[in-house]
């Protein structure tokens, strides 16, 4: 298995839409074949259409607010000693997280497809919040599927969705988290695919959704590679790009433009509570390949193939599967994956929020935990860049419950 140079990663699949012959594909009910084929054709036309690209860039600049800041975390660097730590503050994007890129592009596509309704899933609530925001902006009616457990633990984002006029559909089946929200959203689409466009909130699901999402979040690294060159004059020899991975959308976007460079990629999964056997880290814990939500991927499951329960303090990472693109990057050894525990993520949130002007949500706090762990062991010639892809405000309740206070 090998990654081709000079070819976008999302296009490195075979005729069955499998990456490395093993990951991805379209394991979908017959009813979705045509809508997915239609969407695949439309997207491949649009991504080569200059006017569409202009439109995308216009909204990324004027609506999302590109570029997001690239800053040095001087205090954290000094505090830890060792590697130089930087952050790409993607949480400065409109709405407070990277999910706005995918949401904006999906709304633009839905308009081109002549659809008036858009539906999406959400875990941490960011994908839902952004989709509801973008839907309002582009005049689409919006429905968001969200696990009942997540509705309780991510209240601020739920409020935001309501304000944006979206209908929130609580999902009470199974674990009542992201995995069930994605299933329920897909079921809804099976029943309404003639009138409704579906947005999958991460780089998961049938191939076309992986493609659209990764293509959208790639904006992060398009900005970053320029910012890095401006800061260092070139791409530093010893550069590590650290990102949390749940479904894997922000990491894909953060790494994409650096694919053919020497930059090292480190993906940090949700290790769950230290005391629990449960986790949401299929790559770190060598889960087997299985089919989840239409795609083959490493997935937390039992021997028979029943999808396993996961546990993480971070709703956005609390997902048993992982993007087929990350499976591909793992098996080709292009990226390394590890996990951080709930406790390590909380500590990282505290440390970063107290020392710096940014306050990462619990998802990127997993990435910061890894940066904090390795930075002291590295020399000052090493550069670590962490994708701070979400803001802690949505986690206020959880943080107060866990450590007694919240500061931002």
């Amino acid at each position: 298995m090998k990654i081709k140079k000079g070819v976008p990663l999302i296009d490195q699949h075979d005729k069955n839409f499998m990456y490395g012959g093993k990951f991805g594909g379209n394991f979908i009910p017959e009813t979705l074949k045509k809508p997915i084929n239609d969407l695949t054709k439309l997207f491949s036309k649009l991504r080569n259409n200059k006017n569409f690209l202009k439109e995308r860039d216009f909204y990324f600049k004027n609506y999302v607010g590109a570029p997001t800041p690239f800053i040095k975390l001087e205090n954290l660097t000094n505090h830890l000693g060792g590697a130089q730590i930087y952050a790409k503050v993607v949480s400065e994007a409109n709405g407070g997280a990277h999910k706005i890129y995918n949401a904006t592009v999906h709304c633009l596509i839905a308009k081109k497809a002549g659809k008036k309704f858009i539906v999406g899933d959400t875990g941490a609530g960011y994908a839902g919040k952004m989709l509801s925001m973008a839907a309002r902006k582009f005049g689409l009616k919006c429905k968001i599927f969200m696990g009942a457990k997540d509705i309780k633990r991510q209240r601020p984002n739920v409020e935001a969705m309501k304000k944006n006029g979206a209908k929130i559909v609580p999902v009470t089946t199974g674990s009542q988290t992201l995995v069930d929200a994605v299933s329920e959203c897909m079921r809804y689409w099976v029943s309404n695919c003639d009138t409704t466009h579906m947005c999958v909130g991460s780089t998961v699901g049938p191939n076309i959704f992986i493609k659209i999402c990764a293509w959208s979040t790639a904006q992060i690294s398009r900005e970053l590679i320029l910012q890095v060159k401006e800061e260092f004059g070139k791409i530093p020899k010893k550069l590590k790009l650290i990102n949390c991975v749940g479904g894997g959308s922000s990491a894909m976007g953060f790494w994409n433009e650096f694919m053919d460079t020497n930059a090292e990629f480190i993906g940090v999964e949700a290790g769950g509570p230290t005391k629990s056997k449960l986790h949401a880290a299929p790559l770190t814990n060598n889960s087997k390949i299985g089919i989840l939500h239409g795609a083959a991927q490493y997935v937390v499951q039992d021997k028979e193939g029943q999808i396993g329960s996961t546990e993480s303090i971070s709703a956005g990472l609390d997902y048993p599967g992982i993007s087929p693109l990350h499976c591909f990057l793992k098996d080709t050894k292009r990226a390394k994956y590890t996990s951080a525990s709930d406790e390590a993520a909380l500590k990282a949130y505290q440390l970063v929020s107290s020392l710096e002007n940014i306050s990462p949500s619990l998802e990127p706090s997993h990435a910061f935990a890894e940066a904090i762990r390795i930075a002291p062991k590295l020399s000052s010639s090493e550069i670590l860049i962490v994708d701070s892809c979400g803001d802690s405000l949505k986690d206020k309740d959880i943080i107060i419950r866990k450590i007694g206070s919240y500061s931002r």
């Binding site: 069955n16 594909g25 379209n26 394991f27 979908i28 009910p29 017959e30 009813t31 979705l32 074949k33 045509k34 809508p35 089946t173 199974g174 995995v179 299933s183 897909m186 079921r187 099976v190 029943s191 309404n192 695919c193 003639d194 087997k288 390949i289 299985g290 089919i291 989840l292 939500h293 239409g294 083959a296 499951q301 021997k303 028979e304 193939g305 029943q306 999808i307």
Partner: protein
């Protein structure tokens, strides 16, 4: 040798009625009862579909999800499922049994071992919800080699060109999904419209056995009786749920429900 599935359709054609196809879930509401239910409803049903449970079913509505949840809670697994089939087929060797489920369970067991188990428990056919054509070509071929029918699905969104190709690769039975819906949705298309689509597909190859499923209940089954076969699933799962709520015996309840369904299409 003619398959049991083909034989049943021939017989039903002679009797000028559609085949009644039931769907229940292995392990619902218990391992024993699901076998008892099969034994009892197969007096009236022509073909029995048995669901092997997956906990992430992206095409199933709430009724079948409830049944799956009950079955999983009872600790159902593939070994038990094959066991139920084996016992059922021992009791009714001529009654075709079709297993229905999602691909991940087959993928984990391995296609070959799964088919070996199907063969030894005398499964007659397979419906794999999330393994569409052409991705299913290789597996369908393996099924054929083992004389197990791989049942292709068609839906209202399947294009004309695709319909032809799928029918061309089909075995003893083809399943037409009546409308854009998960299982058990309310029939949102008129039976007349469903039959119009159905007949269009039939004309592509009139010799194929084409059945209709999704949204069929005791209220709608009569209006669709010109089809080769009709599948009732969610209504049966709901009947189990209802019988449990009312403290009734799900086995006798389902026997009655399927008997009534059969009478409506005679």
């Amino acid at each position: 040798m003619k398959s049991k599935i083909s034989t049943v359709f021939e017989q039903c054609k002679m009797e000028k009625r559609p085949a009644l196809i039931t769907y229940t879930v292995a392990g619902d509401n218990s391992k024993n009862n699901s076998l008892k239910i099969l034994n009892s409803i197969s007096k009236h049903a022509d073909i029995c579909e048995l669901g092997f449970v997956h906990n992430c079913p992206i095409a199933d509505g709430s009724q079948i999800q409830n049944s799956s949840y009950r079955a999983l809670k009872n600790g159902i697994n593939l070994k038990d499922t094959f066991d139920i089939v084996k016992k059922f087929k021992k009791n009714r060797p001529e009654k075709p049994l079709i297993l229905m489920g999602y691909y991940n369970l087959i993928y984990q067991m391995g296609e070959n071992l799964f088919l070996k188990n199907c063969k030894s428990s005398k499964v007659d056919g397979l419906i794999i919800v999330d393994l569409p054509w052409p991705e299913n070509k290789k597996f369908a071929k393996k099924c054929k080699q083992k004389s197990i029918s791989f049942i292709q699905l068609l839906s209202p969104t399947t294009t004309k060109d695709r319909i032809k190709k799928i029918i061309n690769d089909s075995h003893d039975m083809i399943y037409y999904i009546s409308m854009l819906s998960t299982t058990g949705g309310k029939l949102k298309v008129s039976p007349k419209k469903i039959l119009q689509n159905y007949n269009k597909i039939r004309r592509v190859n009139p010799s194929k056995n084409l059945v209709i499923g999704f949204g069929i209940t005791d209220k709608t089954i009569k209006s669709l009786k010109s089809a080769n076969g009709l599948v009732v699933g969610s209504m049966l799962c709901k009947s189990i749920t209802d019988s449990l709520k009312m403290g009734q015996n799900p086995v006798t309840k389902l026997d009655k429900v399927v008997y009534n369904l059969k009478n409506k299409i005679l």
